[in-house]
């Protein structure tokens, strides 16, 4: 480049240098997946069996039992007849429009995802609330997980684990677990100092204080985290189906590529219905917890 050119054009790395960087990066990843791919796949094997078991459970249980189960759950969580009736009607509609199996597959995915998010998110959230240093280290990681376009990590995950449920689940969890962690952290941090002092005055150990005071008082926030996790997991359903996860995402994807407007709309609405059902149940439960603890 002639004199002064760098003033107008950003002095970027040369094409060869850039290519070398990209290639060595890819090569490194390929080596990694070649060496450890199978071992990592074996690690996730129990998770796969768990997922398959859940999916079989949801798809093979008679539909009436499923609806009954969800309705009972809704009643226990909310004690609201309106909600229960709304849920029964929306599941009936899903069934009538022939989307039962896909909906159950998606539900199995969401339930497993939520369980895993709880298992992963709670301890990390607690850790972050205890140590400020952990909080400042983990926060940026959560930001990356929530904003990094999912396609960027979808393909490496496929290279490592192939297509199917487990890689899909991992992609969904990367996106859906941050709110769980954030709100657990926040909930525990928001517990009144006076209450903690009282617990200390009674000579509570750290573990007693955590399980007997902090977590119960943070429960409404943790439930909000669960709620957000479920919503975000549902938002990822279509993306996950791009790497072969079964469920409502498949027909949506098919509709998108073929401009089948009605198919897309029906299945999209089924996802919305699932979201509303999960949202109302978890929120109502969170609210009832708040009433118990009189924290409203």
């Amino acid at each position: 480049m002639e004199d002064g050119g760098w003033l107008l054009r950003f002095p970027e790395l040369s094409r060869d240098a850039l290519r070398a960087i990209k290639k060595s990066f890819d090569f490194g990843y390929r080596q990694f997946s070649r060496t450890y791919g199978e071992a990592i796949e074996n690690v996730f094997e129990p998770l796969l069996q768990f997922l398959i078991w859940f999916e079989d459970f949801f798809t093979e249980t008679p539909w009436m039992l499923i609806i009954l189960g969800i309705a009972t759950l809704a009643w226990l969580a909310s004690r609201s007849w309106k909600l229960v009736i709304g849920i029964v009607v929306s599941f009936m509609l899903i069934g009538v429009f022939g989307m039962w199996e896909h909906t159950m597959q998606t539900m199995a995915m969401i339930v497993v995802c939520t369980i895993l998010a709880l298992i992963i998110g709670l301890p990390i959230g607690i850790l972050m609330s205890r140590y400020d240093r952990a909080q400042s280290a983990i926060m940026p990681i959560l930001d990356v997980m929530q904003t990094m376009p999912s396609f960027v990590y979808l393909i490496p995950v496929v290279m490592l684990l192939g297509i199917g449920r487990v890689p899909g689940l991992i992609a969904v969890i990367i996106y859906a677990v941050p709110p769980m962690i954030r709100l657990t952290n926040l909930g525990i941090r928001l517990v009144d100092k006076e209450v903690l002092e009282a617990a200390d005055a009674f000579g509570a150990s750290y573990w007693q204080r955590l399980t007997g005071v902090q977590i119960p008082l943070a429960m409404p926030n943790i439930m909000a985290g669960v709620n957000q996790t479920i919503m975000m997991a549902l938002a990822m359903v279509v993306i996950a189906s791009m790497i072969g996860v079964r469920g409502l995402g498949q027909p949506v994807l098919k509709a998108v590529t073929n401009q089948y407007f009605a198919v897309g709309l029906f299945n999209g609405l089924a996802i919305v219905a699932l979201a509303i059902v999960f949202d109302r149940i978890t929120q109502a439960y969170g609210r009832r917890l708040q009433e118990h603890t009189e924290l409203r």
């Binding site: 290639k23 070649r34 290279m159 449920r165 791009m242 498949q250 994807l253």
Partner: protein
């Protein structure tokens, strides 16, 4: 030069062109003039677009430029607004009727087939599997060995990787799966979701030298990079049966059928064909074999580069291909520009 960037060059060049065309309006039409080339969003078409751009600029003195495109929008825009001028790679299967109608109305012109071999679809297995089991050349032979192609989620059954969700080939593969009774043979049809998922499953199998069986097509970077063999379906393509059942979504009694060779052509607007006969003649001559395209696509994928670098490399590696497309004088000009 200080101001040698697009932003500053554009207005100056436009002014210069306006002056020149104003002076020589008649001869400009006889020359090539401004040509827009559709740069489709898949790799083989991108490569073709850059090759055309280079040859039209350096060989025919056109002012060629690429515009982004996709099959349907580009064909519609070409036929309605004569813009862009050239679509280097159109897979006719999906848009045959639209194009034939527009050609009849004199809005579009078909320059010729860009792929000598045509687009090739089929069921493929990796070469190393064939080497280890030389009898696996036909679908029937493969169907006897589900154990060589285990599904990742259920190792007791074989996997047939389907074409991405919603693509036309998905329903065809689905029909063939039933036609060959693959379920009974111990295979499951695996949904790959997207082309990224399908590619990923091949890449993964290849890195670990695992069995893989599924739908794929050529020319593609994947087939350039990974040596795969197409299985013999045991029957020839039967267009009647294809229209009745194999290609239909709600076909209840599919029977074995072969894939048709995909016709892949270059389309131009009618005005371009009329105004730039020499450039049009080049586009009619320009066709390459899938082996060459696969090789270049795989080069692009390895280098993680786009069509521009791919085209440069193609001119260097395969003069025996491109020099046949153009008259000697033009070939000399292109060589000088390399």
């Amino acid at each position: 030069m200080m101001f040698n960037t697009g932003f500053w060059k554009g207005p100056l060049a436009a002014g210069a062109i306006a002056v020149i065309t104003g002076l020589t309006a008649t001869s400009a039409a006889a020359d090539c003039g401004k040509v827009t080339i559709a740069d489709m969003n898949w790799a083989s078409a991108e490569l073709a677009a850059y090759v055309d751009k280079f040859i039209l600029i350096n060989g025919y003195g056109c002012d060629a430029e690429l515009v982004p495109g996709d099959t349907m929008p580009t064909v519609t825009s070409m036929s309605e607004k004569a813009e862009p001028d050239v679509a280097p790679e159109i897979w006719m299967n999906s848009v045959r009727q639209v194009i034939n109608a527009s050609v009849k109305e004199g809005r579009l012109a078909v320059a010729g087939n860009i792929l000598t071999d045509g687009g090739v679809e089929g069921l493929w297995i990796p070469r190393y599997v064939l080497d280890a089991h030389p009898e696996l050349t036909t679908v029937q032979a493969v169907l006897k060995r589900p154990d060589l192609f285990p599904a990742s989620e259920n190792k007791s059954r074989g996997a047939v990787h389907n074409c991405p969700s919603g693509w036309n080939c998905q329903l065809i593969t689905d029909n063939l799966f039933r036609a060959y009774d693959m379920k009974k043979a111990g295979f499951d049809l695996i949904d790959t979701g997207s082309s990224a998922g399908l590619n990923g499953s091949i890449a993964k199998a290849y890195e670990r030298k695992e069995g893989w069986l599924g739908y794929y097509w050529s020319p593609t970077a994947i087939l350039g990079k990974y040596d795969m063999v197409k299985l013999d379906l045991g029957v020839d393509h039967d267009p009647k049966e294809w229209d009745r059942c194999t290609g239909q979504a709600d076909c209840f009694d599919p029977v074995p059928n072969g894939f048709a060779k995909g016709i892949v052509t270059t389309i131009t607007s009618a005005s371009f064909a009329k105004n730039s006969p020499e450039a049009f003649a080049y586009l009619s001559n320009r066709s390459w074999k899938n082996v060459v395209v696969n090789e270049m696509l795989s080069f692009m994928a390895d280098e993680q580069s786009g069509g521009e670098i791919g085209a440069e490399e193609f001119f260097k590696r395969h003069p025996e291909v491109w020099t046949k497309w153009v008259p000697d004088a033009v070939a000399a000009k292109i060589k000088a520009a390399l």
